[in-house]
Structure formats: C-alpha cells, structure tokens
Symmetry: C2
Subunit: 415 residues, 2 copies
Amino acid sequence: MQAIQKIGQAAQTAAFELGQLATATKNQVLLAMADALEAATPTILAANQQDMAAADANHVRQVMLDRLKLDQQRVKDMAAGLRQVAALADPIGELVQGWQTESGLQIAQQRVPLGVIAMIYEARPNVTVDAAALTFKAGNAVILRGGKEALRSNIALATVLQTVLTQFNLPATAIQLLTDTTHETAQALMQLNEYVDVLIPRGSGRFIQTVVQTATVPVIETGAGNCHVYVDADADLAMAQKIVVNAKTQRPSVCNAMEKLVVHQQIAAEFLPQLAAALAPFHVELRGDAQAQAILPQLIPATAADWGTEYNDYIMAIKVVPDITAAISHINRYNTKHSEAIITNNYAHSQQFTQQIDAAVVYVNASTRFTDGFEFGFGAEIGISTQKLHARGPMGLTALTSTKYVVRGTGQVRP
Amino acid sequence: MQAIQKIGQAAQTAAFELGQLATATKNQVLLAMADALEAATPTILAANQQDMAAADANHVRQVMLDRLKLDQQRVKDMAAGLRQVAALADPIGELVQGWQTESGLQIAQQRVPLGVIAMIYEARPNVTVDAAALTFKAGNAVILRGGKEALRSNIALATVLQTVLTQFNLPATAIQLLTDTTHETAQALMQLNEYVDVLIPRGSGRFIQTVVQTATVPVIETGAGNCHVYVDADADLAMAQKIVVNAKTQRPSVCNAMEKLVVHQQIAAEFLPQLAAALAPFHVELRGDAQAQAILPQLIPATAADWGTEYNDYIMAIKVVPDITAAISHINRYNTKHSEAIITNNYAHSQQFTQQIDAAVVYVNASTRFTDGFEFGFGAEIGISTQKLHARGPMGLTALTSTKYVVRGTGQVRP
C-alpha cells in the first residue's frame, strides 16, 4: 500500500511536467521511443519467450498465448504505432469554446490533460506500448497494470520507454508499470483517489464489472459487447446476409462482433435458411427461439440466459420478432450499449431505430465491426466506452483529456 | 431494496419516453409546472411549515433552517426557475460532429440524454424543483433524494410536478422522489448500476467523499471548494483588496468563496495591513503562517490542517510565498480543483498561473465567486463539477447529456 501511494504521487508530479510539454517535444519523444523499441527487439523477445514458456507450462489457453506472443513483426508494429501517435494532432491547448460575459469577463474553455490515468488490462504486451503512447501524447502520466502472464515482456517494454523519457530529461515516472501484479495492489490502485484521475479497465465483461464494483476512482467502462443485427422486413436480404456473416465471423472474439440476430417474422422463413447456408463454412453454432426453430430445425433452443450473453465465439442466437418496435425493445433490454445495427431499406424504420436504440454506436446497413478508433478515423484507440459519461464509443486522444475554464478579468467582483 | 429496483426500472422506462419528446412539448410541460407550483402555494407552504416545525423541535442549525424555509416569494422563484429552463435551448439532437469515412460510412455524433440521473442533496426544497426541471429539459428521468428534514416539502413539490406530467400523458415516474430517506436506501441508490446512468451528489465535502467511496454507479463530484486568491508582486493592490474582500465575504458559506490568501512576500508588508483593515467590518477571523504573523501580530497561527480546510465561514488563512512558482505549488497541493485566482499585472505570470494551476476555473484579476452556471451564462446550474471526467466547472444542461454515434452505410462490411 505504501508503494502504490508513492507510485501515485510520482505519477502526479510527472503529470504536472507532462502537461506543460510542447507538442514538438512530445512527438520527438514518441519517435525516439519507436526507434528504441526496434533497437531493443532482442531483449524484448527474450523476455517474451520467458513469459511464453511460463504460460505454456501453466497450461494457459491458446487464445491467450496468441495475444501474449511477440515476434519481430509485432515489435515493428508497436514501433509503427508509436510513430502513428506522433503524427496525430495534439488535442492539448485546443480552445473548445469562449465567450464574454455581461460583466466583461472573458471565459475560455481550454483542453487540458486528465492528469494521471491508470490502466488495468489483460496479458497483451502491445497494450502497454499503445496505452503509454496515447496517454503521453495527451499530456498524461500513466500507471500500467498488465496481466501477470506478460510481466517480463511488459517490464522490458516499459524499461525501453522509460529510458527514452530519461534521455529527454523527462521523469521516468510519467510511464510506470506495476510489477506487483497481486489483486491487493490492483485493488489499491482502483481506490487511489488522491492521485488517479481516471481508471480505464480492459478485459472481459466480468472483469470490468468487478472493477466497477471495487473502484472508487472514476472509471470508464469499456468493452463488453452483446451486439445485435436486426434484419427488417424491408431489408435487402443479400446485403443482410453479407453483413451478418461479416459481423459474426470476421473476428468473433472481439467486442464489436455480432452476438445476436433479430429478424422480422415476415422474411424469417426466406432469410434464415440462406443465412444458415452462408454461415455453414464457418461452423457457427446457431441457437434460436421457438419461431426460429420452426424454420431451422437444427437450431439449439436458446435459453433465457442466451439473450444477455456475449459469446465471443462462433455462436449466434436468433430471435424472431413481429415488428421493429419489438426488435428495439428486445435489443434495449439485453444489449450492453455497445453497437447495434438495422438492415433495412425503409427510411422511417432506419430513423426509428437510430433514434430509439440506446447504444454507443447505431448502424444502418453496415457491420457492427466498424466500432473501432482506427475505422472511425481517430488514428488510434484506447478502448471503446460503453458508459454514457465523458466518452461514449471508440475513444481516441480527446477522450484522454479534460478541460479547464480560464477567466480573464479587469478586477470584477460579484455584486 | 425491492422498492429501489422498481423505482430504477420505472425511471428507465420513463427515460426512454422522455428521450423521444419534442422540445415544444417539454417546454409546455415546464411552463405548466410553473403555473401549477404557484397555484399550489398554500399546500406547499403548509407542508413546509410542518418541516420547519419538526426541524426546529429537533434543534436543527439556523443556517439549515434558512435553506429549508419556503415562503410565497421562494415558491414564485421556483416557478420563475421552471420558466427560465423552458426558455433555454434544448441540447438534445444537436449534431456534435460528423464525417464520412474512406469506406463511405457517414458518421454522425448526436447529443442524447444521459438516461436516468440520480441526485442526492441536502434539505433544500428548491433543489427538488431545479434538478427536476433541468434533468427533464435534457430528456432524462430523475430520482431525487433530498435531505430528510425537507421530506414533506419535497413530497408536496414532487406531487405538483408529477400531476402535470400525468396531465400531459407522460409517465409520472419521470420525476421520482425517494420518500424512504434511510441511509440504506440511499446506499442502494448509489449502487443501482442496472438503472442509474449517473449520480450527482450535492452537499458537504465529507458527504460527497462518502458517496464517492460508496457508489458503484458513475458519480460526478461536485462542490467542495478550498479556493485561493494569489496576490502577486505586480498586483494592483486596490484591485486585490476589492477582490479578496468580495471573494471572502460576499457569501462565505458557498463553494466558490475564497478560503485562502496566498501573497507574494514583496508586497505582503504593504498589502496585509490594508486588507486586514478592509476585512475588519466583516469580522473575518484571520490565520496565517509565521511570515504573515510577523506582519499582522493579531493573526492566529495557521496549523498544517488549515491549508487543506474549506471553512465555509468568516475565516481566512494567509500564506506568504517567495515567488509565483511557490504560490502555484502551494495551491496545487492543497486546492480542491475548484476555483483559483491570481491578481497581477504581469502578463507572463498570468499565463504561467492559468497554464499551471490545476482547477476547474482559473481566474486572472477577478473574484472566484463567478464560478456559477448563471454567471457563466448557462442560464441554470445543476452543480459545479470538481472532477475531470465528463464535465468540469459549472454544469448546465449540456452536462446532463451524452452522445451517440449514428453510422449510415450502404452495406459496408469490414475487410
């Protein structure tokens, strides 16, 4: 506990210095970090091989090993990511709005860093570099707590970044990695209100809920995505099929992948068999309600639990509805407020759906897979917010900032 | 606990309906509420007299009685507040930004209501009406939990507002008042994550910290203000005196009142005696560090605890500093990130102060008392945020909204 207090304090001190940095300096540091990462490739890969060997010995799942593994190309990709962040516009200093009051005060709302950002994430070493780059560019200090399986890799990466900070006479504590990966320390970080301005957790829905329950610092909820595609009676069925196949199978493990199909009863009998055939090569397990089962007898009956479950796998549940209003009710009841799509050529239905669905991103005639900072054109992404405060949807650099009002007067007092 | 779940669910259902309302309808409802409040003045005052009698019998402090008390004029003021909110521009539906991606997707970021807002506040009946008006105008359902001393007044007020909702065929559950004022129910409200999108606590700094520690729903911290005025060596001392007297004495009980004077050592010997004389008629208790005591022997020695304390009273502590950098360090260490002022005619110092002070509002040559939604020109205020997420500083209608991305495509899938 003593240690985490010190880490927080050091981060706050560093944040003050980072908040004053010129854009050119920040970009030079990021480019130097990219070069240093590439130069340190052998050290980084050696550390990662130790992590991989330990994870393998501990029978860690293949999907986690895939995320943990680094190679020459992945180090190059991380360096490229740093250069990309250097090329992004600096959000700090932007004059968001300004006006003059009746008493002659000039009010300017200026964009400033958040201060100290904490991130808790899974065993993905690339997140260490991505998160450090984005928080640094937005003038923040960061405290990183990655999955324990990636500890050696993360130490190697953070050491490289810290060395570059030192070379630029910047505090190495601007980017700190928690090497104590116990739950106690993670919990202490979640309650470090004196120093931490925001905590961004990444990981499974269950993990994020634990953070929400435990944290006393402000949290931005990210990630969980029980995403729906609703195929309306007036849909172009060929388009609908293409979009559903893409949203479900292009990368089923991610949060913007589709989990549920909602289909209008009028076209269900025509659409579902075509869709089942199109999904067959991908071995998607199909579940469904009674109406869907009547059309596709091979369906596994969907239970009540299915509608609220994010599978992150080659599984899809199908719900047949009598009309768009029923579709909207069902989606608003079970969704995680991430990404929802309607496929329709009916203008009024497209408007009703976008107006009434409560989600970060609502699509008409496009795949839910586009909910992503890069796809949105932000150039980078720190996560996808599924809450309504501060930032909603893909979060780029601006989501890592706050504002402050600067008020210039000539001696005004309040009457 | 069962009851609070039901209240939350009803609020969520009402919020869906409110989010779809036309601006004209919302304004008609607000105007009708204003008329209904005035018409119900006898009932409201009778309920308030019961509250006042009970509070008096329970030896409630005079300052709290002042806030609790309603009279003809205060009911008129609440009605005027409702009409003022009706006249404000509706933030909902604003197109915040929009663009087209390379793949031809049209992305529109639209302003939407937050959904369900919970407010926990002190025994001030006018907050019941103000909060209901603002949350309603921004399309949100609200759950109100006022101080228990104001319960009868709040029930009378909420009943009037709910009756108007019903007259307009709107759900009365759009504005709900918790009549169970136990701590257990307040705590359950703070953890009602399934239904509450944001909780805004108002009250003492200690109360707000308790909420931050207890709540699992997103919280916007408001209010606590340990505000400083720094009088620089290059200050116009007459202006400095006028601003300090105003910031300290115009209304010492509020959060934007000044609590601490930081003064450059070069002008301290000249300025402090003048200031002490100017403050004398207001009976401000002056405390100070050793350097200040050397100039004003009547000072009470300031202890370490003084620098971090919000007095909300006719008390002021004085710190003498060698330069502006020391002033900034002291303020950033002890402030509550609310409102801080520099009095100077030195341009470089004005820039350094506004750049380096970490607070919601930073003033040059003006009183901290201007940190207020009305003074800022927002036309209304739901509170003053002292956190960095979502909203910082005075919060008007926009702070009660979120955004959602609407993405329109022509069949795009992710490659």
